[in-house]
Symmetry: C2
Subunit: 317 residues, 2 copies
Amino acid sequence: MIDNLLLEKLFSGDRRAVARIISVVESDNNLTSEYLKSIYNKVGNAYRIGITGPPGAGKSTITNQLTKLFRKENKKVGIIAVDPTSPFTGGALLGDRVRMNDIGMDQGVFIRSMATRGSLGGLSKKAIDTADILDAAGSDIIILETVGVGQSELDIAQAADTTIVVLVPESGDSVQAMKAGLMEIADLFVLNKCDRPGSQQAYTALQTILMIKQHDENTWLPKIIKAVASENKGMDEVLNEIENHKKFLLEKNLFQLKRENRTKVRIKEIVENKLREKLWTQTSESLLNSSMKNVMLGNSSPYDIAEEILNQFVNNR
Amino acid sequence: MIDNLLLEKLFSGDRRAVARIISVVESDNNLTSEYLKSIYNKVGNAYRIGITGPPGAGKSTITNQLTKLFRKENKKVGIIAVDPTSPFTGGALLGDRVRMNDIGMDQGVFIRSMATRGSLGGLSKKAIDTADILDAAGSDIIILETVGVGQSELDIAQAADTTIVVLVPESGDSVQAMKAGLMEIADLFVLNKCDRPGSQQAYTALQTILMIKQHDENTWLPKIIKAVASENKGMDEVLNEIENHKKFLLEKNLFQLKRENRTKVRIKEIVENKLREKLWTQTSESLLNSSMKNVMLGNSSPYDIAEEILNQFVNNR
C-alpha cells in the first residue's frame, strides 16, 4: 500500500523520501505504478536537460559544471546518471562518482546513478520514472546524462526539453557521431576539450555537417559551443544557449508538443512492458523449452515456434 | 506466395536470389516468416563471427582483412555490416563501403549493409534473419559487424559463435569498453592500431581487467591480440584464435548449447514483435490519442492510460 506520509515528504523535497520512492520504482514491484500515478499531478515543472555523447567526451564534467551554475541561481537540480556497469566491478564505476563529489554534498542537488546492465527495455522507463520523482520533489532542473551510442541511451537523452550532445575534437569524431545517430537528437553541441590540437578543424567539420541539415525559421538550428569543461570554459554559453532553446520552444508552441510526443512514446513503452510480463508465464516458457529440440534439429524454425507460442497466448485469454 | 524456384536458386548460392530474399525479409511483409521457415532446415552450417567495438576502432578493416584470409582457404564469406545512417546523408555512409571495395568484387563474398535508423527492436531480428539466409545460401563464414555500444548492437554481435571486440590503445579505452558492456561478450580482443603510442600500457590495462574475471578450465579466457589491421598485422593470430575458440566450444560441448540459448532469445523476440504488432491497432492508437489531453493536464498519469489500453486489448480478444 502507498505510504501517504512518504508522498507528503516527497512533495516537500525530503531527500530520504526521494531516495526511498526511487528505490520502490527501481525494484519494479506492484507499488511502482501506484506511486507513479500518485505523483503525476505534481510532475511537469522541472526543465529537463539531456546530456549525451561518446564515452570519454566529458559528460560528467559538464553535468558537474552546469549544476554549479544552476546552484548559483539557487535552482534545485536532480541528476540521473545512466552508468553502465560491469560484472567485473560489480557496480557502477567509481570514476564518475568521484567527479561528482563536489556537488554531491550540496543539499540542493540530488544525484542518482542507474545501471544499464541487464535492463534494455526497462532502462529508459526507470530513468524517466526517476525524473518524474525528482520533478515531483520540486527540482527546477533535471539532468539526464547517458553514454550516447546505443538506442536506449539515446532515448533517455531525448526524453528532455533540451538535448546536449558532447563531442571532442578527435579526428573523425563528428562523422562517428553522425553514424551513431547523435546529430539528429542534438539541440546544442558542446565541443569539449577544445584545448586539444585539431579543435578548430573539428569545429569546422561539425559546422559543415550541420549546414547540410534543412532548416527554416520554424526549425531550431543547433549551435556548436567550444568548451574546456574541466576549466569551466564555455559553460556560461551552454547555459545561455539552453535558455535560448527553451525560449524558441515556447515561442513556436513546440514546448508542449514535444512533451506530448514524448509522453506518447512513454505510454506505449509501459503498455508493451506490461504485455510482455503477461506473455512470459510458465505456460509460454514450457512450450518454448519443449520445442527447442525440434528447432535445433532443423525440423521447426524459430518462426513456427513463435507462432505456436503466440497462438497459445492469444487463445488462452 | 513463396517462389520455390527462387528458393532453389538461393540454396545453390545464386547471388541475385540471396539479394532478393534478403529484401523480402527486410521489407518485413507477410512472406517474411514463410521464407524464413522454408530455409530453416538448411541453416546451421556457417560459422558465425561477431565483430564489435567503439566507433573508429577499425572494425571494417578487420572484417576486410579476415575475409581475405578466409578467401585464401576458399571459404565463402557472408558479411552483415550494421551501419548506422543519418538523415543528413540519407543512407549508409560511404566510408565503410569504400573500404569494402577490394573484397566487394569477389564472387565468394556477399556483403549486406543494414541501417540501424528507426528499427530498434527490429534490427537484431533482421540481422539474424539475414545471417540465416546467407547460411542457407552456403556461406562457410558469416561475419556480423556492428558498432558496439548500444544494447541492440551488442545483441547482434553476440548472435555469433565467436565474438571479437576491437579496441584501440587510446587512454581509458578499456575502462570505457568495460562500462559499455563489451568486456562480458568478448571471446577475443583485438587491440588494433597498435602502432600508436600507449599500446603497451593499453594492453597491460586490458589484461589486468581480464584477470579479475573468474575462470576455471570450463570457462574460456579471452586472449588479447595486438594488431595493425590496416597493415594486415596480427590478422593470422586472430584467425588462429577463432579456430582455438571453436575447438574449445566443441570439446566442452558448449557449441550447441550456445546456439540453443541464442535461438531461445531469438524466438522470444519474434513472439514479442508479433504481439506488439497485434497490440497497436487503430483501436489502441485512438484510445492513446484521445487520452493525451488528460495526461498533459496532469489528470491521468501515463500509467493509468497504459492500463486502460492494456485492459482494452486483453478484453477484446
